[in-house]
């Protein structure tokens, strides 16, 4: 039976990690259908039909789907589930909120945040903040899976010509109402997909000092990350948090500044290709995962870092 991928979108565009989830879905079974639920999401549905991996798109529209409420989405997907062996979605806040609700309705034990497809019923997933990898085999007839997007390459986004079929909307769940969303707008690359991430921790000492990081990030075309300590201290907003309870990033270059490297932070960045640590404590655990470590006071090192970057005649972006 085919795999059903739940597309993540903002009613205008697909969210980028839908492409990574599509890759993972295709590794389970080549017959991938995608469902997109929203309001006025035709453009996003069209984009979805252009992913060559997708064989069919099911588009379900209704005003009560505008804000992605799990209580509304889950019954609509459960209704489709009969035709599918697997239901998959990205393991970000959208999928984490939604998928367990679907799984419980189907009486299925969900497999969360997989990083590898070993066979259609066997998957690899990190546990204990990524300090162990578990190989798990699910024996449920219908399998509900969420995918760690950074562990799969995004699929091709054009060239496909899947048919778009209208699906039937379900009733509105009246006990949950959307009030408002405060999205943080930024011209910088998105943290989850950036090629370079520059992150600050408690060592930054204040929100104002984060401008030292902003400068470096702007110079490198990088996204800005943070440890939980920096977010909790109010230096920067929570959507920048990298770690077990924040975002997982796998950039080419991760620069950790004033971050000690607690287990919970490492869980979000230790798969990065190259890790740099700048910290004045030579014993900080971050040095045990850093490819290049600089033991120095960040308030001296960061201005020097900017000066050295300015000397380079080219910077890859």
């Amino acid at each position: 039976m085919a795999v059903l991928l739940i597309a993540e979108h903002n009613n205008k565009e697909l969210r980028p990690f839908t492409l990574n989830a599509a890759t993972a879905a295709s590794l389970i079974d080549a017959d991938v259908h995608a469902v997109i639920i929203g309001q006025n999401s035709e453009t996003a549905a069209k984009k979805l039909s252009e992913l060559p991996l997708i064989k069919k798109v099911i588009s379900i529209e209704a005003p009560h789907y505008e804000n992605f409420t799990a209580e509304n989405f889950a019954p609509a997907i459960v209704k489709l589930a009969g035709n599918y062996s697997h239901i998959v979605c990205s393991a970000n806040t959208f999928g984490k909120n939604l998928m367990p609700r679907i799984a419980a309705h189907l009486d299925t034990s969900q497999v969360s945040d997989i990083i590898k497809v070993i066979s259609p019923d066997t998957f690899l997933r990190p546990i204990y903040a990524g300090n162990a990898f578990a190989t798990v085999k699910t024996n449920d007839a219908k399998k509900c899976i969420t995918i760690r997007p950074t562990s799969f390459e995004p699929c091709e986004s054009s060239g496909g010509t899947a048919t778009i079929e209208k699906g039937e909307a379900g009733e509105e769940f009246s006990n949950t109402k959307f009030i408002k969303r405060e999205e943080i707008k930024s011209d910088r690359p998105e943290l989850g997909t950036a090629r370079i991430v520059v992150s600050g921790g408690r060592g930054m000492q204040s929100g104002d000092n984060f401008k030292l990081i902003t400068e470096v990030a702007d110079k490198l075309g990088a996204a800005i990350g943070a440890s939980r300590a920096a977010v909790d201290a109010g230096y920067i907003s929570n959507d920048h948090q990298v770690g077990q309870t924040g975002k997982v990033v796998v950039p080419d270059l991760y620069i950790a500044i004033g971050i000690s490297g607690a287990i919970q932070h490492l869980a979000g960045m230790k798969e990065s290709k190259v890790i740099v640590a700048i910290n004045k404590d030579g014993e900080a655990p971050i040095f045990s995962v850093a490819d290049y470590g600089l033991e120095a006071d960040l308030f001296e090192a960061l201005p020097q870092f900017m000066a050295e970057l300015n000397k380079l005649n080219t910077i890859q972006k």
């Binding site: 909120n97 299925t108 204990y128 162990a132 009030i179 408002k180």
Partner: protein
Amino acid sequence: MKILVAVKRVIDYNVQIRVKEDGSGVVTDNVKMSTNPPDDNAIEEAVKIKEAGKATEIVAITVGEEKAQETVRKALAVGADKGIHVKTEGALEPLAVSKIIQKIVEKEKPDLVFMGKQAIDDDCNQTGQMLSALLNWPQATFASNIEIKDNFLEVTREIDEGLETIQVNIPAIVTCDLRLNEPRYASLPNIMKAKKKPIEEINVSDLGIDIKPRIEQLKVEEPPKRKAGIKVANVAELVQKLKNEAKVI
């Protein structure tokens, strides 16, 4: 208003875990165990709501082996009124835990159920959502702020793009983010008082539900190790290495 708070006993968040050599799991013998951190946020929030005069009773529940009762005792020391320990053996999946809590909800009839957004051992992030589906109650996941109104809550949720506020009518499930509050420490007198508070013990077999695991854990292994890096002497050397050796800038 009555609040049920679910707490889990896990390996302490500061422990560097060790994988068993036979690949059967993680070493838990003689390892420091504690309450799952976001569950501490859940119990703290319930106690604050009671202190504000908006809740009358807090019931703390845990599901697990004998020693799991410690987490209930801690919740009582922080301010819960009564404890429930559903005794089970062996591994439990979130679906099973949510079915167990569903039974307790039907018996205790709370207005709200609070729990952490995920356990730091299995990292599933499922139980609250599953319970909410089973009860057909609204769910407010990843909560970082909760405002209690007459018959509903206004909850601010941490989402990837920033923050979102939703209204959920009571009864509802809330899963708590670490940012919701600062959990208090239990004082010694309160720990002593908690010893006198009641904990009801329930055998899972008396609940009449199927909790058999559906997922087999075939193997647990250590993740690939990163090879040791080098320390550079100064910023100039760092930039040169990034440019010419790693070729990432």
